[in-house]
Symmetry: C3
């Protein structure tokens, strides 16, 4: 198997850029994950994964990451992205949910938290706590909001 | 190199959910691959890969997976997803194709099988057999159909 | 960590196909990367990565790849895809940018080069050179243009 991640870091950021991809790139930089090769995953917290506040990785690393993101080219629009990590018993896997939309940070956070609770309910399991990180951004020209859970080692 | 997968499992499932992502998550659970970190790949069967009927993996594992999926929020709509594994000589690589659309399971299966045959034709190679798995789903509120080939070790 | 890639190859190709996915598959074959499992990454060149003109990999390998792609079903349409690798000091990471659109190869190349320059500017770093690869394709029935940077070992 590919090695299963043992650590996770939750982050969010938003930014403008001259193109959609540059705005995304700048949002990653704002979130603190800009100099890595994100491998998008769909999205389970491995059992016993340890929460690390501050993320460390060598530039260019392949980084399994669950993320929600939204980019908009409509000036004045409010955009938001959020992630939730639903955690049950420490020795069991958790569930990561991602959300993005045209809403406030609070709405995105509320939605994604509910999604994580529903994911636990689908599994017939009790959720003990939910970690949420969200960001909102008022688009000036081309803007991107990004929220992520990086899964590392 | 990252290690090349040596086993594969073909699966499909469909489900409803309170959001699009929860419907997708529930479809993964229905397919038997819900508690993993899917790494979406595009999509070759490694040479000598062994077909395993029943899939086993530790929750949270990073799982290279080729998949087709469709989510719909239109009640009454029929949606379908299918995958095909085109297999030639055992010591050569095969080709995986994915399809999803508004159609029956049979139409999805027929389409994806033809896609695998065309992929072999593009390579000037003979196809010996095709494994197909498909699923259809009549949307109630928010529904998702999902078909996949997991590539593992 | 997953192993960080140490080599990179830049490529582009375009093709027709009987379906969108077959067109994409054929464009990958035209680019020389058709028999691998692409893991799409977002998209940093690791420090000290070595440029290799000719790409070698065992079929079915998991291949971290940054790519831009566009598929069109409108006959007569011109489509293009391009990638740029922005390179600074050899011991520092570089930045990979991807672009695709309805334009010529030259326009795609110019755009993606500027995107790489802007990505360096966002990081407050000097860019020393940019490698660009682009392709254009006039759609006959269903066509795909694809440009990529494969990151390997």
């Amino acid at each position: 198997m590919l090695p299963t991640p043992r650590k996770f870091t939750v982050m969010a950021g938003a930014a403008e850029g001259p193109t959609r991809l540059n705005a995304f790139d700048n949002a990653l930089l704002a979130a603190g994950i800009g100099n890595l090769n994100l491998l998008r995953v769909s999205s389970i917290l491995p059992p016993n994964a340890e929460h690390i506040e501050k993320f460390e990785a060598v530039p260019g690393s392949l980084m399994p990451t669950a993320y929600g993101t939204i980019t908009s080219e409509e000036p004045g629009t409010l955009i938001a992205a959020a992630v939730a990590v639903g955690i049950g018993r420490p020795d069991e896997y958790g569930v990561i949910m991602e959300f993005s939309g045209h809403c406030t940070q609070e709405e995105a956070a509320r939605t994604v938290e509910q999604m994580a609770r529903d994911a636990f309910r689908s599994r017939g399991r009790d959720i003990e706590r939910v970690m949420v990180r969200a960001v909102e951004h008022r688009v000036q020209s081309i803007g991107c909001a990004f929220a992520a859970v990086a899964l590392w080692y």
